[in-house]
Amino acid sequence: MLMSVGSLAAMGLALGSVLGVASRYLSVEADPIEAELLAMLPGSQCGQCGYVGCGQAAAALAKGEAPVTLCPPGGKATVEALAAKLGVKVDLSQVVDSGPQIAEVTEEICVGCCRCIKVCPTDAIIGAAKQIHNVIREACTGCSSCIDVCPTEALAMMPIPVTLQHWTWPKPASAQH
C-alpha cells in the first residue's frame, strides 16, 4: 500500500518537473504581431482569403506569406491598417474595393431549408424551416458563405447601392497626373 502510494507520488513529481522544465525551455512563443493583426481582421472566419479562418490569415500575414490585400470584406480600411502595421507600401488604387456587397434572398426561389442560417457567421439571416428567409442588411458582412450552400441559388451577392449619405466627392482629376 505504502509502496504503491510512494512510487506513484515519486513518478508524479518526476514527470511533473519534466513537464515544467519542458514548458520553460521548449515553449512555442505566440507571435505578438499575429494577435495584433488578428484584431484588425473582421473575425467572421469567412475564408474568402483562402485560409481556414482569420487566425490562419493573420499568421500568414505575420510571416509575410500573404498580401495585405487578402481580406475582401475588410475593404480599403483594413488594407490600410494592415499595411501600416506591417510597414508595407501598398498601392491602394490597385485594391479593387468591389464596393461593399451584401447577400440578398430572391424570395420566389427560397425554399426555407435553413442551410444558409447555419453557415452565416454573424447570424444575419433570419427565417425558419419552410419559411422564406431574409437577410438583415445591417448585420451582413458580405462574406458570401451562404451563397454556396443555397440549394436553389436564391441567394446572391448584390452591391450596396450608393446613397446620398454615403456618396463622397471623387479626387480632383488634376491630382491624377
Binding site: 473582421p42 480600411a77 452565416c120 447570424d123 463622397t168 479626387k171 480632383p172 491630382a175
Partner: protein, 503 residues
C-alpha cells in the same frame, strides 16, 4: 497682432469676391404663381428623413402635415400647395452626385387653400418650450443653407444658458440676395422672429449682423428694431465668409469658438434672418415652412431677381417663369463659393435653397489647374487659420491621415483658398474628397467592430445551445432513471408479496 486686429476690427482672413448681387437684389420681390405639380422631398434638413403619412389620391390643403419628423434631429414636411397626392416616389436630389431621394408629389388644384391655423395669441407670456414645440411642428430649419432643425438648436441654447442671439444677415455669398430681400421687404417679421427666438432660448440681447453692401436692408432693419433696445443692428465689413457662424461670432462679439466646441457653449447662438422670419410665421400666423424667397441669378437668366415660391417647385418651372437667355452652362444651388453643382434642372427646391444660379459659358469657365507654387495666398485667405496647401499636398498623394494632422476637420469648405489660388487648384474638392473618405473609413471601422460583436454573439449562442442540449439530455436521463427507479420500487414489494405467497 491679435490685439491690433481687435482694435482695428479688421479681420485678417477672407476674400473680396465681386458680389454680383445687383441688379437682381433691387428688383422687387415677385410672387411665383402656384405650379401645377410640386415634388416635396422628405429629406430637406440635417438628420433623419421625414416619414410620409399620406396616401396616393388623398386630398391635402396647403400647410397640411404630409410627413412626420423621425428621430431627435429631424423636421416634419408640409404640403406647399393644396391638391391631390399623386405619388410617393423618387426625384433627383439637389446634390452633386445626381442621386435620387424620396419625395411626395402633389398635383395642385390651383386654389392654394390654407389649412386652418391656430396662431399663438400672446407668445411672450407663453412658456419658451411652447415656442420651441411650435417651431418644431412647423418644420422650421436653418434657412441659411445648413438646414439644421431650429427647435433642437433652441433647446440647446436654453440648456446652455445662451445670453446672446446673433441674427445672421451677412449673406456674404456673391449673387444671392434672398436674405437682403427679406430684410428690406419684411423687416418687422425678422425682428419679431428674432424676439421670439430670444424668448425661446432665454437670450437677453440680439445682435443683427448685416454686411455694409446692403445699406437698404440696414436702414429698414434699423427702423423696425427702433422700438426694441435689446436688438442691435450691426453693420459689418463686406468680406467673404462673414456669414459663416464662427467668423460672424468672432467679429460681432470677439469670442473665438474653440475647434472642438459648439457656438452655444460660448454663450451665443446664431440664426439666419430668414429662419427668424419663418419662426415669426410659425408662431404668429401658425403657418408651417412651405414657401421661401429664392434668388434666381446668373448670366443665363433673362430677368434675374427674387421669387417667393412654394417649396418643392421644379427649378425648370422657375426658369420658365424668369426666362432663359441661353442654355445654362452650369447650374448651382446656393452661392458660387459654397453652393452645390446641379446636373440638370429637373430638381425641386428645398428648404435650404437660398438661390439658383444659371451661369453662362463665360461665368462657368474654370481654368485648368496648375501645380502648387507655394505662394501661401491660401493660408492668408483661410478664415479658420489652416494651411490649405499642406493639406492638399498630402491628400494628393493619398496621405489622408497626414492631412488630418493639419486639422482638416476644421475646414468649413468656404472656398476662399480655391478662390485666391493663382494655380486654380480645386482645393475644396480635395478637402471634400478627403473628408468623405475619412468618414467612410471610420464607418467601415465601426462596421468591422460590429461584425466582431456579432460573431462573438453567434459563438456564444452556439455554445449556449450545445450546453442547453446537454443539460436537457441529462435532465431527461435523470427523469428516466428516476421513473425507472420508481417503477422498480413499485414493482419490488409486489414481487416480494408474490414470492412470499408462492413460498
Amino acid at each position: 497682432m491679435g490685439f491690433l486686429d481687435r482694435f482695428l476690427k479688421t479681420p485678417n482672413w477672407g476674400v473680396h469676391p465681386e458680389d454680383h448681387k445687383r441688379p437682381a437684389a433691387d428688383v422687387p420681390l415677385r410672387l411665383f404663381p402656384s405650379p401645377e405639380r410640386i415634388f416635396m422631398p422628405l429629406h430637406q434638413h440635417v438628420g433623419g428623413a421625414a416619414r410620409p403619412i399620406v396616401m396616393v389620391g388623398q386630398k391635402v390643403l396647403k400647410g397640411q402635415l404630409i410627413a412626420q419628423a423621425q428621430g431627435n434631429i429631424s423636421a416634419p414636411i408640409h404640403a406647399s400647395v393644396s391638391g391631390t397626392i399623386s405619388a410617393v416616389g423618387e426625384v433627383t436630389a439637389p446634390h452633386p452626385s445626381g442621386l435620387p431621394f424620396k419625395a411626395i408629389t402633389i398635383d395642385s388644384d390651383g386654389e392654394n387653400r390654407w389649412i386652418d391655423s391656430e396662431p399663438l395669441a400672446d407668445p411672450f407670456s407663453a412658456a419658451p418650450e411652447e415656442i420651441t414645440k411650435r417651431t418644431a411642428a412647423a418644420g422650421v430649419v436653418g434657412l441659411g443653407g445648413a438646414t439644421f432643425p431650429a427647435a433642437p438648436k433652441f433647446a440647446l441654447g436654453k440648456r446652455l444658458k445662451v445670453t446672446t442671439l446673433i441674427v445672421n444677415g451677412g449673406e456674404c455669398e456673391p449673387y444671392l440676395s434672398s436674405d437682403d430681400r427679406i430684410m428690406r421687404d419684411y423687416p418687422e417679421m425678422v425682428i419679431d422672429g428674432a424676439r421670439l427666438v430670444m424668448h425661446a432660448i432665454g437670450a437677453t440681447q440680439a445682435l443683427v449682423g448685416i454686411e455694409n453692401n446692403k445699406p437698404e436692408a440696414i436702414a429698414a432693419m434699423r427702423q423696425a428694431a427702433a422700438a426694441f433696445p435689446e436688438i442691435k443692428i450691426c453693420p459689418l465689413p463686406a468680406l467673404y465668409p462673414m456669414g459663416s457662424d464662427r467668423q460672424l461670432i468672432k467679429v460681432l462679439t470677439g469670442i473665438e469658438v474653440p475647434s472642438d466646441a459648439r457656438a452655444a457653449e460660448t454663450g451665443v447662438l446664431v440664426h439666419n434672418v430668414s429662419t427668424c422670419a419663418a419662426v415669426h410665421k410659425a408662431i404668429r400666423l401658425g403657418q408651417p415652412l412651405v414657401e421661401r424667397i429664392i434668388t434666381i441669378n446668373g448670366g443665363a437668366i433673362a430677368a434675374p431677381g427674387n421669387l417667393y415660391a412654394p417649396l418643392g417647385t421644379m427649378i425648370s418651372d422657375l426658369f420658365a417663369f424668369v426666362g432663359l437667355k441661353e442654355a445654362p452652362s452650369r447650374l448651382i444651388l446656393g452661392g458660387p463659393m459654397m453652393g452645390t453643382p446641379l446636373l440638370h434642372d429637373r430638381i425641386p427646391i428645398v428648404k435650404g435653397a437660398s438661390g439658383i444660379l444659371a451661369f453662362n459659358a463665360a461665368e462657368a469657365f474654370v481654368p485648368e489647374a496648375g501645380p502648387c507654387i507655394r505662394c501661401g495666398n491660401c493660408t492668408k485667405a483661410c478664415p479658420m487659420g489652416l494651411l490649405p496647401l499642406e493639406m492638399a499636398a498630402r491628400i494628393r498623394v493619398g496621405d489622408l491621415e497626414g492631412a488630418e494632422k493639419f486639422e482638416l476637420q476644421d475646414c468649413i469648405s468656404c472656398g476662399c483658398c480655391a478662390y485666391v489660388c493663382p494655380s486654380h487648384i480645386p482645393l475644396v474638392q480635395y478637402f471634400s474628397h478627403a473628408k468623405g473618405e475619412l468618414t467612410a473609413a471610420e464607418r467601415s471601422k465601426l462596421r468591422t467592430e460590429a461584425t466582431k460583436r456579432l460573431v462573438e454573439a453567434k459563438t456564444a449562442r452556439i455554445e449556449r445551445e450545445e450546453r442547453e442540449k446537454l443539460e436537457a439530455a441529462a435532465r431527461r436521463k435523470a427523469e428516466r432513471d428516476a421513473a425507472k427507479a420508481a417503477a422498480a420500487k413499485a414493482a419490488t414489494p409486489v414481487a416480494e408479496q408474490t414470492q412470499g405467497a408462492s413460498a
